[in-house]
């Protein structure tokens, strides 16, 4: 049975930050992944400006999640970031190129300039999503950790089928999520066009999701231990499937906002499933399961966890309140004006 000590609370809070990141930046990355499917310059500007005012704040969820991981579980931060060195560098390159592509694309009129940044926006969004998924896949599947808690594998050792499958599933999830977001933010012809893509993105995602689930059940049995031991948790995959099934229904009824909420719920349920599967491990060690980094053997002191909890309890309600009000200010359909990207 779970005891709600500080370590568990921080496991949950980092889960909340990463879920916030996946829900919010997830649609930004998804919009990026779909970007090249739009054709005209105006359509592409609308795509970028749909996320224009918010993507930057959304990325902060990752920055803060990383900071919280550093503070609460420094050994996990150190082992994972140094162990996945080249993959992390590629992720940084992806995030840098996405940021500057959004910012620079529409600042010059030349066709080659815009094309260059369109490609870089799309490729970097797909690459970033893929790498995030591959990282999650690896810590679930297990990576070699030595007795000192250091990563003992190689870069190419990280690119095995299961992590790559999780990576592709992540791309698919974000594409679906992003398509629904864009439908909510657009109107007219472009909206009709993207509405037509949603079913394809849902099918792509469900195929990936079903495959990942089967592979996990067959080959990654430790990810299912907690659910088997606590059958009540079976509600999570159930909620997840209902949320996914609700998306085409809402889209069909043209209730775009409710479709988006369903998609958010699906993302949250997926990450919750991942968290339940991992708990109390943060990095699963294979083949030496005893060397796994857990929320106990890799944590900061109780005092630090407590101080940070105070910081989080004071700060996060404010963050959520003004993030919501900023989304409210920028609600409605995208309009291209002189100040747009």
């Amino acid at each position: 049975m779970i005891t709600f000590d500080l370590n568990t609370i921080w496991f949950l809070l980092i889960g909340v930050l990463l879920t916030g990141y996946a829900i919010l930046d997830g649609f930004d990355l998804g919009v990026g992944a779909l970007h090249l499917f739009t054709k005209t310059d105006l359509e592409r500007r609308i795509m970028i400006n749909a996320i224009g005012p918010v993507w930057d704040g959304n990325e902060v969820w990752l920055v803060t999640g990383g900071g919280a991981l550093f503070a609460a579980f420094p050994d996990v931060y150190a082992t994972a970031f140094s162990g996945f060195y080249l993959a992390m560098m590629l992720l940084l390159v992806g995030l840098i190129f996405r940021a500057v592509a959004i910012d620079f694309r529409s600042k010059q009129p030349m066709a080659w300039w815009r094309k260059m940044w369109d490609v870089s926006f799309s490729v970097s969004s797909i690459l970033s999503s893929l790498l995030i998924g591959v990282a999650l896949g690896n810590i679930a599947w297990g990576v070699p950790i030595d007795a000192d808690g250091e990563f003992a594998g190689t870069f190419f050792g990280l690119l095995t089928p299961y992590p790559i499958l999780v990576g592709i599933t992540t791309v698919a999830l974000f594409m679906m999520h992003g398509a629904i977001y864009v439908v909510m933010k657009t109107e007219g012809e472009l909206q009709a066009k993207i509405r037509g893509w949603i079913n394809n993105t849902i099918i792509f995602f469900i195929v990936c999701y079903a495959t990942t689930t089967m592979v996990t059940l067959l080959y990654v049995p430790h990810m299912t231990d907690n659910i088997r031991d606590n059958p009540i948790l079976f509600l999570l995959p159930l909620a997840n499937m209902l949320a996914i099934a609700n998306i085409p229904r809402e889209i069909h009824l043209k209730r775009n906002f409710r479709a988006f909420l369903s998609s958010c719920a699906a993302v949250a349920a997926l990450l919750a499933l991942f968290g339940v599967g991992m708990f109390p491990d943060l990095i699963y060690s294979a083949p030496e399961a005893a060397n796994s980094l857990t929320i106990y053997n890799s944590a900061s002191s109780q005092k630090t966890l407590k101080i940070m909890l105070i910081i989080a309890v004071c700060g996060m309600p404010m963050v959520i309140a003004y993030t919501a009000s900023i989304y409210w200010i920028f609600r409605g359909k995208v309009k291209i004006t002189e100040g747009s990207y």
Binding site: E59, T64, F70, Y77, S82, D148, E150, S301, I329, F330
Partner: protein
């Protein structure tokens, strides 16, 4: 080149490049609060145009700061994993506070600043400007807390032995208000204000020289001159105070500032000089006894020199000496430039002094150089320690990566940052050439 040196070069290069942008965001944030405040108070359309123009520049600078900043947050873990394990308990809280309290605030309200002109009331927009400015200043607090703790660690205890040792927090407020924090944050702020003030002065002087946007340029200059004068004079105070704290808490670093070798003797201050690290001598133009006077109020008082430390506990001396002296020299020059600007403004002759406007155009490089040199002095002067007196830099590296990995990433960052820098200068130049929108354009856009 060895693993440690490559890792240090990568960190120095990426942080140095990143630090071109945050000082400008911090200082421009202040500038925008002033200009938009004047607009709301006077309803003078000039200040509205001014705010809108500098907000656009702010947006570009902020984007580069974000893109290069995320690298920094990852890099502690990727390249300095042993350090991360050692300091995580202490350092992490500050980093988490920075994210929760400052980054969300800055990036969230930046959206309103950039895209909210037509969506919110003018006063709401002004509140957003204040919050972005506040967020920028607040984020500097936490990162300087963390860095100051590395210089003057307090409020912690060491748990574990050998490879397993790490610092754990005992008193949060002692960690935050460690001995060097207040000096260093105020020194950092003033450097940031100077960077932005001279940036605005440079662009505005350029317009005056081209005889374009005269009212706009002169109006921007007035705000910038006030900031420049205040920041440059206060920088003298914070600089002196910082050096006094270094004398107390990091004597080896202070000795390196002035190339002072004798273990226990009165020390002078060099206007310029050269340190011969092999012979352990320093030559140059010296004011005898002046360092003793600044530190102890007495020209005869002894100052701890480098010979009081074992050679393996000393920082590189000549590099620190040169960067420190260049920084101080630039600081003095900035005081002169800001006072001369003020004088010409008060005499109403600034727009006519073309030679001085040309000086101002190039003056943008000076505070940037001083900021870089200051951090170089602070960080190289702390060597061979990564956490002063506790953890050596050579013991702080990641164990699961190789020199080859670092070389690959260093080349990667080198190429990408070169590209970013070229693009930044290109787009900045475009924005400057385009200039502020004409009054009717702003009006039309509002309507």
């Amino acid at each position: 080149m060895d693993f440690e040196m490559l890792s240090r070069i990568q960190f120095g290069f990426t942080i140095g490049f990143h630090y071109l942008f945050p000082p400008l965001s911090i200082g421009l944030g202040l500038f925008l609060v002033i200009s938009e405040g004047i607009y709301l108070k006077t309803k003078n359309e000039l200040y509205h145009r001014m705010t809108r123009f500098w907000v656009k520049i702010f947006g570009l600078i902020f984007a580069l700061g974000v893109a290069t900043g995320i690298v920094m947050e990852f890099q502690f873990g990727t390249n300095w994993a042993t350090y991360s394990r050692y300091v995580g308990d202490v350092f992490g809280s500050a980093l988490a506070a920075e994210g929760v309290f400052a980054f969300f605030l800055e990036s969230g309200f930046l959206a309103i600043l950039l895209f909210g002109w037509d969506k919110v009331k003018p006063t709401t927009h002004f509140v957003a400007t204040i919050l972005v400015c506040f967020g920028a200043h607040f984020s500097a607090i936490w990162i300087v807390v963390a860095n100051s703790w590395q210089q003057t660690p307090t409020g912690h205890h060491i748990v574990g032995l050998g490879d397993q040792a790490r610092a754990e927090i005992v008193d949060f407020w002692q960690v935050v208000f460690n001995p060097s924090f207040l000096d260093r944050i105020s020194h950092t702020y003033m450097g940031a204000w100077q960077a932005a003030a001279f940036f605005v002065l440079s662009v505005s002087a350029f317009y005056l020289l081209k005889r374009k946007y005269r009212d706009f340029a002169f109006g921007s200059m007035k705000i910038a001159i006030v900031i420049a004068v205040v920041a440059s004079l206060l920088q003298l105070v914070t600089g002196h105070s910082s050096a006094s704290t270094v004398a107390e808490t990091q004597p080896a670093k202070l000795a390196a500032f002035e190339g002072h070798y004798p273990a226990h003797a009165p020390a002078g201050m060099y206007l310029f000089g050269w340190v011969n690290e092999n012979n352990e001598t320093t030559s140059g133009l010296e004011i005898p006894g002046f360092l003793s006077f600044l530190v102890h109020g007495n020209t005869e008082a002894p100052v701890t020199g480098l010979k009081a430390f074992a050679p393996e506990d000393r920082p590189p001396v000549n590099a620190v000496f040169q960067s420190y002296h260049l920084m101080v020299g630039i600081g003095m020059l900035l005081i002169l430039l800001s006072l001369v600007s003020l004088l010409f403004w008060l005499r109403n002759s600034l727009p006519e002094k073309r030679w001085f406007l040309w000086v101002l155009v190039f003056s943008v490089l000076l505070p940037q150089a001083a900021n870089q040199l200051g951090w170089f002095t602070a960080e190289v002067g702390r060597q061979p320690w990564i956490v002063y007196g506790l953890l050596r830099t050579e013991d702080a590296l990641s164990k699961s990566i190789t020199a080859g990995d670092v070389l690959i990433s260093l080349i990667l960052f080198g190429l990408i940052y070169l590209l970013l820098f070229v693009l930044f200068i290109y787009l900045l130049n475009e924005k400057i050439q385009h200039g502020p929108d004409e009054p009717e354009m702003v009006e039309g856009h509002l309507a």
